[in-house]
Symmetry: C2
Subunit: 125 residues, 2 copies
DNA sequence: CAGTATCCTTTACGATACTG
DNA sequence: CAGTATCGTAAAGGATACTG
């Protein structure tokens, strides 16, 4: 049973769902995790896989994902310096439930776009 | 195959995944959708189901979910005025891939908390 | 009851320059 | 190569008061 009700500040802070979800529902986290699906990637390779994302934001997101245990960060002493990011078992597990959602998003885009057109049309009369 | 790479502004704006995901990965959208799982609810009932969420933010989120075609809004003329929110087939479909993720979040909280403790411990030495 | 209206704070994200 | 530092913008969210 999924418990989503939280009335007190303590309950809100402790709510497992709010707590875990908060760090994987950003703009980039799902894309970063997905980019690592087929194996470890270097920092620059992750960046190329996503295309648009600044170094700064990518670093922030990678650190947050590492902190929550979804990926590991391994430094390969250089020069040149190489840093590899790789999914942990927990990250693989997360990806197994995240992928269907991302896949659904890709598939449902036409339906969503159509719904938006209808809604926006009604607003204008 | 999931295509997440977007290098040009046009590709980023059109990317189905970024586009659809953007409106379902907020702090409240998953919780709101989940609250409607067992049938239509009134505005105030949704609020009680979630516990913490201001009227303003709930309204904003409900409108966005309605616009993207996940829920419908039905006004029952009063007085007293009653407004019901209900999942559409598209919303039910979304929930079918969203629920596993939320469920995973709830189950994985201990693992995530442990990972955070390890990470934060390393930072302090 | 189901919202709006205002105002404010926080967080995420982005652009650019610089560094071990 | 893989970041960090600084600065700035924008979007999300929150608090409170008011209304058809």
């Amino acid at each position: 049973m999924l418990e989503i009700t939280a009335t007190t500040p303590e309950a809100q802070a402790l709510c497992p769902i709010r707590n875990v979800l908060a760090n994987i529902n950003g703009k980039w986290q799902p894309l970063i995790l997905l980019s690592l699906e087929d194996g470890p990637l270097r920092f620059s390779a992750v960046r190329r896989a996503i295309g648009d994302i600044t170094q700064r934001v990518q670093t922030q997101n990678l650190r947050a994902l590492e902190r929550d245990g979804y990926i590991t960060r391994t430094v390969s002493a250089g020069p040149p310096l190489a840093v590899f990011y790789e999914l942990t078992p927990l990250g693989v597990s997360l990806l197994s439930v995240l992928k269907p959602l991302v896949h659904w998003a890709g598939e449902s885009y036409p339906a969503v776009k159509a719904a938006r057109a209808v809604y926006d049309g009604k607003l204008r009369g």
